[in-house]
C-alpha cells in the first residue's frame, strides 16, 4: 500500500471508530511553480509544496465536509473525534445518499504526466524567455503574464473500499501584450508542455495588441459578433454552473423550468463535459465518490441532455450519477464544444459586419435564475465590415442573458483551443463561435 493510501486508510478507520458510518478521504499533494511577468520581466516567482486532506463524513444521514490545508494526522484525528461528539447536535441532510460501492470501472486515467513539466519546476526560465522574446519580437511594446506549472497527486480512499491515486502534471501560460492603447491576451492550459503553443500565446497576444493600437467608439445596440474561445470559456463557466444538479435543485440555475429534451440552445451547439481526454487540465478517471468518469453531453445540437450529478443529487432526482462528484456540489471536469466546419477566417467572413470580442472579464449576474448578466470586453475588440477586420473599438459591455447567448450561436469554428487564464476557471477545449444579435449597452 502506498503512503497516501495507508494514510487515507488510517483516517477512514479512525472516522469509523469515532462513530461515523461513512468516510471518504481525498488527498492532494502538489508541487507547483508560478512565474509572474510584468513590464517585460519576471516580477516574482512563487513555489508551493503542499498537502491537502479533504474528508467526507456521514453519520445518521448527517453530512460533514472537512478540509485541511495541512496533512497533520494528529490534528485530523482530533478534529474527527470532536466532530463525532456533536453528531446529534446537527440534522439529517435533505440531500443525503449513501456513498456508492466501489465502481470496478473507475480507474486512474492513463497519461496526463509530462516529465518535461516536472523537470521545469525548479527552472521554468525557458518558457519565460519564449513568452517575452516572442511577443516583443512580434511588435509588443510591453508584456505581462504567467507561467504556472506543476504536478499533482490525487488519491481517493473510501470506507466502501475504493482506493486509487492519479498523478498528473499541469502547464498553463497566458500573456497580455500592449501596443500603444491596444492590448491582446491569449492563454493555454494542458497537462503537457508544448513550446509551439507557448509561442502561439505570445504571437497571438502581440497580434491582437497591434490590431487594436488605435480605437474608436461604437454605438450601443444589437450586434453580430464572433466570440473568441477566451470569451466563450469565461462565459461557459456560468453555463456549466447552471448544469450542476445542485444549482438546479436549489433553484439557482438558469435551466429552472427546463428538463432534458427541451431546446435550450441553437442547433449548431453541442456542449460536453469530457474528463477522459488526457491532455485536458480537468482529465480524471474517477470522481470524488469513486465513480468512473465519463463523457457527458450537456447540450446536443441545441437540446438539453443531462445535468451533472453526484450520487446525492442523482438520488434526489431519481437518476444515476454522471461521475461528477464533488461530494456536495457536482462540477464539470473539462468543457468541450463539438467543432463546426468553418475556419476562423471563414467565421469572420460569415460575420460580414460586427465585432470580434477577443477577451472579457467581470461577468456578473443580476438574476442567476433568469441568467441576466453583463460582461466587459478587455483587450482587442475588432470591427468587421464586409467580412474584413477594418479597425478596433473601445471597450464595450455585453448585457444579455445566457439563454439568448446559447440560442443565438449561428456558427461554430472547426479549430479547438485549450485556452486558460485568470478568468477561466473550468478547463476548456473550444472554438471561436459566431453569435447573431447580442446587446451592447455601452
Amino acid at each position: 500500500m502506498s503512503e497516501p493510501m495507508a494514510f487515507g486508510d488510517r483516517i477512514v478507520k479512525k472516522a469509523l471508530e469515532a462513530g461515523f458510518n461513512e468516510c471518504a478521504v481525498l488527498l492532494n499533494n502538489i508541487e507547483r511553480t508560478m512565474v509572474r511577468i510584468a513590464n517585460n520581466q519576471v516580477v516574482v516567482t512563487q513555489n508551493w509544496v503542499s498537502g491537502k486532506a479533504s474528508l467526507y463524513l456521514s453519520a445518521k444521514e448527517r453530512v460533514f465536509q472537512l478540509s485541511f490545508d495541512t496533512i497533520n494526522i494528529d490534528h485530523i484525528e482530533r478534529t474527527i473525534k470532536e466532530l463525532a461528539l456533536g453528531i446529534d447536535r446537527t440534522e439529517r441532510s435533505f440531500l443525503y445518499a449513501p456513498l456508492p460501492d466501489p465502481d470496478p470501472s473507475a480507474r486512474p486515467l492513463e497519461g496526463g504526466f509530462d516529465q518535461k513539466v516536472y523537470d521545469m519546476l525548479e527552472n521554468p526560465s525557458e518558457v519565460s524567455e519564449i513568452l517575452i522574446n516572442t511577443a516583443l519580437g512580434e511588435g509588443a511594446e510591453r508584456v505581462a503574464g504567467v507561467i504556472d506549472l506543476g504536478v499533482e497527486e490525487r488519491c481517493l480512499i473510501t470506507s466502501k473500499g475504493f482506493s486509487r491515486c492519479e498523478r498528473k502534471t499541469f502547464f498553463i501560460s497566458h500573456l497580455r501584450s500592449f501596443v500603444s492603447e491596444g492590448s491582446g491576451h491569449w492563454g493555454y492550459g494542458s497537462r503537457f508542455y508544448d513550446a509551439r503553443e507557448v509561442e502561439d500565446v505570445a504571437r497571438r497576444s502581440a497580434e491582437y495588441a497591434r490590431l487594436s493600437r488605435t480605437q474608436r467608439s461604437v454605438e450601443p445596440g444589437l450586434y453580430d459578433m464572433v466570440l473568441s474561445p477566451m470569451v466563450l470559456g469565461e462565459l461557459l463557466e456560468s453555463v456549466a454552473r447552471g448544469f450542476s444538479a445542485l444549482s438546479y435543485i436549489l433553484g439557482l440555475s438558469f435551466l429552472r423550468g427546463k428538463k432534458p429534451g427541451d431546446k435550450v440552445a441553437s442547433d449548431v451547439l453541442t456542449l460536453k463535459d469530457n474528463p477522459l481526454k488526457h491532455d485536458l487540465l480537468g482529465s480524471s478517471g474517477f470522481d470524488d465518490e469513486g465513480i468512473a468518469t465519463r463523457v457527458n453531453t450537456l447540450i446536443e445540437r441545441g437540446v438539453f441532455k443531462t445535468l451533472l450529478h453526484n450520487t446525492k443529487t442523482a438520488s434526489h432526482m431519481g437518476v444515476g450519477s454522471t461521475g461528477n462528484a464533488g461530494w456536495i456540489y457536482p462540477r464539470p471536469w473539462s468543457l468541450t464544444i463539438e467543432p463546426g466546419d468553418m475556419g476562423d477566417d471563414e467565421l469572420v467572413r460569415e460575420l460580414k459586419r460586427g465585432l470580434i470580442i477577443t477577451n472579457n472579464w467581470y461577468t456578473r449576474f443580476h438574476n442567476y435564475v433568469e441568467g441576466v448578466f453583463s460582461t466587459v470586453s478587455r483587450d482587442a475588440l475588432l470591427i468587421v465590415e464586409n467580412g474584413d477586420i477594418v479597425g478596433a473599438a473601445k471597450k464595450v459591455r455585453i448585457t444579455d442573458t445566457l439563454p439568448n447567448l446559447l440560442s443565438r450561436i449561428s456558427a461554430v469554428g472547426r479549430t479547438l483551443y485549450k485556452v486558460k487564464w485568470w478568468e477561466i476557471g473550468v478547463p476548456v477545449e473550444i472554438p471561436f463561435v459566431l453569435v447573431r444579435g447580442l446587446r451592447i449597452s455601452s
Binding site: A38, V49, S50, S67, E370
Partner: protein, 479 residues
C-alpha cells in the same frame, strides 16, 4: 513557532538573501449551510502553514509549505532562493523595499460572544428561524429559494522579517450569506445575495439587527417584484445608497489606487489603472464631496488589522481628498518605487499567498445632511438603495450597476418601487457630479479578489447616501 520562523529568516540570509520574511498563518473554522429550513451539510476547514519571501540579488520569490518542522521550512527557503537565483540575472528593475520603522507587537480581538457560546444545534435553529421570518415577511410573492450559510473562523498570524518586524495577531471572523429568490407567476423573479461579515463574535448578528434587516429586505424585494415600475426615461436626480456608494469607491477608487496595479504588476490579472504615478497630489478627478479613505483600524471591520503582513503599522489613508488623488495604497516594494513610505497595505489571504497591496475598509466621507434633506427638493428622481449586478472595466473607469431595491422620488418623497434601474457612468463623471451627501455612514462587507493565484480577502465598503444630478437611467432585463 517563533523559532521556526527565525530559522527561516536566518537560513535565507545565510543563503544570500538580502531580505527574508516568514509568516505563520492559520485559519480554522466552519460553515453551516441550509436550504430553506433543511440542512445541506456542515463543513470544517483548517489551513495552516508558513509563507516565506526572499529577495535575492534583486529578485523576489515566495514559497510556502505546510510542513512546520525545521526540515520543511528549510526546504521552502531553499526553493525560494533557488528560483530567485534563476531569474536574478535577467531582471533589469531590481526589487527593493522602502525603509520603515516596523512593529514589534501582539494584538487580539476578543469577541463579546464567542463562537463556542452557542452550540451547533442552536446555530442551525437560528438559520431555520431566518427561513420562517422570510416566509412571514411575504404577503403575495413566493419564496422560491432561500439559502443561508453561517461561517465562523479564527485567523492567527505571526510575521517575522529580517528588518526587525515581529507581529502576532488573532482575529475572529463571522460571516453569513443569504441568497434570496422571490417569484411571482406574472412578474418573474427577483434575486438578492445578502452578505454579512465582521471581525467580531456572535454579538455581530444582534448589533446589526439581522432579523429586522432580513424582514425589511424581503418586504422591499416583494414590493419591487410585484409593483416595481420602469425608471423615468428622462434624465433625473439620482440618490445612490450607502451600499452602492461603498461598492463604487471600492471599485473605482480603491482598486485603481493600488500602487502595484498602477505599476503594471496586475496587468495580466486584475488589470491596470486610470491613475499614473505622476498624477498623485496633482490631478483632480472628483469634486469637494469626493474624499475617500481606506482605514484598516476600524474596530470590528472585516478589513481590520493593526500591522500589515510586512510589519508596517496600519493607519487610515486618504486616497482622494476633495477630489484630488492624495495617496496610493502601498506595500514596501511600491513605496520604494515611488520614493515614499509604505502605508501598510500588504495583506496575504493565507499561508500559501504572497502579501500584495490590498484595500481594507474603503469609504466615502459622509456629509452633514439628513436623508430627508437630500431628497426634499427632488421633483422626480430615483433612489437606488442596493444593487445586484455590477462590473467595471480593467482600468477602473467605466462602471455599471443595476439597482435591486430602488424607489421613485416624487416631490421630495419616496413613492413607488422602481424595477431594475441601470446606471452606467465613469469614475470621473460620478465623483465630479456629487452635489450632496448625508451623514449616514454605513459599511457593507465584501470579498475582494486580486492576484494570481487569486487571493480573496475580506473588506468593508461604505459611504453615505449621495445625490447625483440629472443622470440617464437604463433598465434591465434588456428585453
Amino acid at each position: 513557532m517563533e523559532d521556526i520562523l527565525n530559522l527561516a529568516v536566518d537560513y535565507a540570509r545565510s543563503l544570500g538573501a538580502t531580505y527574508a520574511e516568514a509568516r505563520y498563518h492559520r485559519i480554522e473554522g466552519g460553515n453551516i449551510n441550509l436550504r430553506a429550513d433543511r440542512v445541506i451539510g456542515i463543513t470544517y476547514r483548517a489551513s495552516e502553514g508558513i509563507g516565506v519571501r526572499v529577495i535575492y540579488n534583486g529578485a523576489l520569490a515566495f514559497a510556502s509549505t505546510t510542513r512546520l518542522d525545521a526540515e520543511g521550512i528549510k526546504k521552502a527557503v531553499e526553493r525560494a532562493v533557488a528560483t530567485a537565483r534563476v531569474f536574478s540575472e535577467s531582471i533589469k528593475r531590481k526589487t527593493e523595499l522602502s525603509s520603515e520603522r516596523l512593529g514589534r507587537s501582539s494584538y487580539e480581538v476578543k469577541p463579546k460572544k464567542s463562537f463556542d457560546s452557542m452550540p451547533q444545534d442552536l446555530k442551525i435553529s437560528f438559520l431555520k428561524d431566518l427561513y420562517t421570518i422570510a416566509l412571514e415577511s411575504l404577503k403575495e410573492a413566493r419564496l422560491s429559494t432561500l439559502l443561508t450559510s453561517y461561517s465562523e473562523s479564527i485567523e492567527e498570524k505571526m510575521v517575522i522579517n529580517s528588518d526587525g518586524a515581529y507581529i502576532r495577531s488573532r482575529l475572529p471572523r463571522i460571516e453569513s450569506f443569504i441568497n434570496i429568490v422571490l417569484s411571482s407567476p406574472e412578474k418573474g423573479t427577483i434575486n438578492k445575495w445578502l452578505e454579512i461579515g465582521a471581525v467580531r463574535g456572535l454579538e455581530h448578528f444582534e448589533e446589526i439587527k439581522l432579523v429586522d434587516s432580513l424582514k425589511e429586505t424581503i418586504s422591499r424585494m416583494e414590493e419591487n417584484l410585484l409593483r416595481g415600475i420602469e425608471p423615468p426615461k428622462e434624465k433625473v436626480d439620482v440618490i445612490l445608497g450607502s451600499e452602492v456608494v461603498g461598492l463604487i469607491v471600492h471599485e473605482g477608487v480603491g482598486h485603481p489606487l493600488e500602487a502595484d496595479r498602477v505599476f503594471g504588476r496586475e496587468a495580466a490579472q486584475a488589470g491596470e489603472s486610470y491613475v499614473k504615478p505622476e498624477m498623485v497630489g496633482k490631478v483632480r478627478i472628483g469634486n469637494r464631496y469626493a474624499t475617500i479613505i481606506d482605514d484598516p483600524t476600524i474596530p470590528g471591520s472585516s478589513g481590520y488589522y493593526l500591522y500589515d503582513d510586512e510589519g508596517v503599522p496600519a493607519r487610515p489613508k486618504i486616497l482622494y481628498r476633495e477630489g484630488v488623488i492624495e495617496n496610493l495604497l502601498h506595500n514596501r516594494e511600491t513605496a520604494h518605487l515611488m520614493g515614499v513610505a509604505s502605508n501598510a497595505s500588504a495583506r496575504a489571504t493565507n499561508h500559501a499567498s504572497e502579501p500584495i497591496v490590498r484595500m481594507s475598509n474603503t469609504y466615502l466621507a459622509p456629509g452633514d445632511m439628513e436623508f430627508e434633506e437630500l431628497i426634499e427638493d427632488i421633483d422626480l428622481g430615483v433612489y437606488i438603495k442596493s444593487n445586484m449586478e455590477w462590473n467595471i472595466d480593467d482600468t477602473r473607469w467605466r462602471h455599471r450597476y443595476i439597482g435591486l431595491e430602488a424607489f421613485l422620488i416624487e416631490k421630495g418623497e419616496l413613492t413607488k418601487p422602481v424595477r431594475n434601474p441601470v446606471i452606467e457612468i465613469t469614475t470621473g463623471d460620478l465623483l465630479s457630479s456629487i452635489v450632496a451627501a448625508d451623514k449616514n455612514l454605513e459599511f457593507f462587507p465584501g470579498m475582494c479578489g486580486k492576484g494570481e493565484p487569486m487571493q480573496g480577502i475580506p473588506v468593508w465598503m461604505g459611504g453615505p447616501n449621495i445625490r447625483l444630478p440629472k443622470i440617464s437611467i437604463g433598465v434591465a432585463p434588456i428585453e
